[in-house]
Symmetry: C2
Subunit: 513 residues, 2 copies
């Protein structure tokens, strides 16, 4: 069947019935936070185990179990690899791995996938060898690619039951209190892990900094943690740096950023209620830089910046441009220090950040969100999941969550990357549905989603060059030869792209070697 | 039937089957955190309501519903009274009220009980007119008196389903983020409310300090709060002061305190792992004062002090005698300031504090707990629930939780209050079972529970006067006329005293006017 945005969605995949995307939810709905079974630990019950293997045993992980990881150490994470290696050595098979994101550092999983240790993956983002293996059809069951908020929904609603959650804990005490701000692997907030620990059947903290009780400041408390395992190292925190950490200084990028900042201002969002989120790329930070100038000039203090937090946003907090930062994950070490030292820099759980099924997530408070794009199409759909050759190069992360939540969701993109147009007729994979994307800012003008006549009017009044998205498409393709249609139907579904509410936006197809 | 400590427990009370207390649990057990149904709030759904009445309507509170309150404003709380008054005006009947504690300020409930608005009460502590009305049989269904940890268990396990939780929020924003450290009614941590909000069907914050988003530092986050109501005042925070706030200067009290401190030292607990809790009474604080001297002299820094936190414990933190404070509720305004300003002064939820059915509560980490007593009996059972005339004068609070958790649970008491002996053959009401009470310290010597031969040996070695509890009984009664047996079986059960695991320790009987 086709979903409401024209994509084919199979009825069933690997025994799981799929529900096609049918547009945005209009009003409040009743949902549930699922029941969790847990072991009570009377006084004196030891929680310290001698090894990861003892942890897998204590959690009764067996063939077919679901284990989870979080990605605060990003490309420096050593915990997921160590756990899966141990699982393989134990002879476990057919595991489902729920990893909030997957990075190149997770390359050793490829061998485990081929060996049958891992059967299924849930993730919000995948880049590197694991992603490549998936799209080549090595995983027996299609990967489910959700958003960060979708993951919180999956876990809290019980649609994804975690048998054992492994928490990479920069600091832990023997009773299971954890924090992310002390120790050699301090990575800041633990927002994604916070959601897992509330619902996993067993929670195992892996730490390289075991401290005397209590591990203040406590981020995850002892009543949620079953076991603690001390290891020599949980990873390399220098690898948490995401993006460039610095605004672009390249002229076209700067021009796009300046326009995006003008768009935000023209819509009237730059006031004391301003809630802002942006990524860590060069253009994204350049938008922040332009906004900073305007806010400083006008003496505006906005409400908050959210998301993965960079040092650049920390600077803006310290300059009085925001009252607070809401941080689900630190994107660099300056953010880690700020979170540790500044009470206005606060942690949030994945659910508080973006779960569409709780009582109101932080993304719903955003005034403006700066989104990246691999491709945008004439319906404003955005792809950040696959490249034009079909490889998986990322995934939603918070992309579709923030687009849905923000008053103004702004895609900033050049018309082309090299000779490849980024404004296309139809994106290869829909990561974020066009009805949640408000404007597309390029070096050739700004396209406004026809659903947002109000926005268009304000931009025109402000003298911003507004053009139809079709004009951007023409500009992007001008002088290029007609590209061959991108390959389709290459032999089966290897991935499901879930919207944050669990309906299916699109599928990812296998590409042949 | 009789329970394992000899008290009669009816099979059924008001349609509820009772399970008699059967001793302490030995090993890990499997329990559940119950499923919670909730309404998801898409972007833009307003949470601000115009009145408490709108809150009751929005939560669909109806005849027979269960509503909850927390007691961080203690005898200064205005929220529970306002909500119940409104409920009465709406004509609601047969409500169950789950109030974490009840104080004299809640006197207006008596009229509502008589009018049939309130049918049943759950609480950990009751003193004042409501307690008096209950024991005179005015409540149609017996009051359930649990411990603070027992309440967390009741709520998290689903044994007590809350339809609407009202949170007295010293600060709130319009999206439902709450904190207790700002505003005219700042009362500090919100530990009891934290547990309620995770499981109530609807959560309504009542605030007298509505601030722009976000209400940093956030204690309870927006994903747990349905509605926010602004009112002129949520109470009088000067009334949160609990106990005397100052060590006693009365000689017998000082002598008892000095002995208790010696007992802790003699057992070898005064080291870097020292975890300590004490109440806010004069003798309790005098124990802290004696420990302070010893710790300062020896240069010992203990691990933590926990519980309701007083300024006295804040001083000890600031003097470097503890590494941290774990605070479920501030007992005075100095504690409120400290919690706001000192990152080593941390909040804990009621569940983290004392729930026997989670993965290990803070009470399990206590080295020593100083307990008060209205009566102690020859089996070391302690009563802090009823007076010798049968009136309800308090309840467990954290008494039975900390006694069960601490390595050394110490009752400090004089032999008599006036002419009334406090060491009795059989306490009127068992609040805390004797098997969890290790020593009783009086001005006439220290009685050690026969279960703790190890403790007795150490005290004797340290030259502390150890006597059988029977000797203390004799001393307490010497020269007094034989008291008439306290009245029993006066016409029915008006209260159930639950142990922290939900089994029944005792019942409270009606007393006639």
């Amino acid at each position: 069947m086709k979903n409401s945005i024209g994509r084919f969605v199979p009825d069933w995949v690997d025994g799981q019935r799929l529900k096609p995307y049918a547009g945005l939810t209009a009003g409040p709905e009743v949902h549930r936070r699922v029941e969790t079974s847990l072991r009570s630990f009377p006084r004196g019950t030891p929680k310290l185990l001698g090894s990861i293997r003892e942890g897998l045993d204590a959690a009764c992980v067996r063939d077919g179990s679901t284990i989870s990881f979080h990605h605060h150490l990003r490309n420096g994470d050593a915990v997921a690899n160590a756990v899966l290696k141990e699982a393989a050595e134990m002879g476990l098979r057919d595991l489902t791995v729920a990893a909030s994101s997957i990075f190149p550092v997770h390359a050793p999983w490829v061998e485990l996938i081929e060996a049958g240790v891992v059967r299924k993956i849930y993730t919000a983002y995948a880049a590197g060898p694991v992603a490549d293996a998936v799209v080549r059809g090595k995983l027996p069951s299609p990967i489910t690619m959700h958003s960060h908020g979708g993951r919180a929904r999956l876990v809290e609603s019980g649609a994804l039951r975690i048998d054992a959650a492994f928490v990479a804990a920069p600091t832990a005490d023997g009773a299971g209190n954890l924090n992310g701000v002390q120790g050699p692997s301090a990575c800041g907030t633990l927002g994604y892990a916070e959601t897992d620990v509330g619902h996993a059947a067993t929670v195992i903290a892996i730490t390289d900094n075991l401290v005397p009780y209590p591990a203040c400041p406590i981020s995850i408390s002892q009543d949620y943690v079953d076991y603690v395992v001390a290891v020599p190292s949980i990873g390399n925190r220098s690898q948490i740096v995401s993006g460039t950490t610095r605004p672009t200084d390249e002229p076209i990028g700067l021009e796009i950023a300046a326009t995006a900042a003008k768009v935000i201002d023209a819509v009237g969002l730059l006031d004391e209620n301003f809630g802002f989120q942006t990524g860590a790329g060069g253009i994204s930070l350049a938008v922040a830089s332009c906004l900073r100038e305007t806010m400083l000039r006008r003496g505006v203090t906005g409400s908050f910046a959210a998301g993965g937090i960079t040092g650049y946003l920390v600077d803006m907090l310290e300059q009085g441009l925001f009252r607070s930062l809401l941080d689900v994950q630190c994107f660099d070490l300056r953010a880690v220090d700020s979170f540790r030292d500044n009470p206005r820099h606060q942690a949030m759980s994945a659910s508080m950040y973006a779960n569409p099924w709780n009582k109101g997530a932080v993304v719903n408070q955003l005034s403006a969100m700066i989104l990246g794009a691999a491709e945008v199409d004439l319906d404003f759909n955005v792809n950040v999941t696959t490249a034009s050759d079909g490889r998986i190069i990322g995934g939603s992360g918070g992309h579709s969550d923030t687009a849905a939540g923000a008053k103004l969701a702004i895609v900033t993109t050049r018309l082309r990357a090299g000779n490849v147009p980024k404004i296309v007729e139809r994106v290869r994979t829909i990561t974020t549905p066009g009805e949640t994307v408000d404007v597309v800012v390029t070096e050739a003008g700004v396209a406004v989603n026809p659903l947002r006549g109000d926005v268009k009017e304000r931009l025109v009044c402000a003298g911003i060059k507004v053009v139809p998205i079709e004009a951007l498409y023409d500009d992007a393709h001008r002088g290029l030869e007609k590209r061959p249609a991108s390959p389709t139907a290459t032999g089966g579904v290897v991935g499901i792209v879930e919207y944050r509410d669990g309906t299916v936006l699109d599928v990812i197809e296998r590409i042949c070697e």
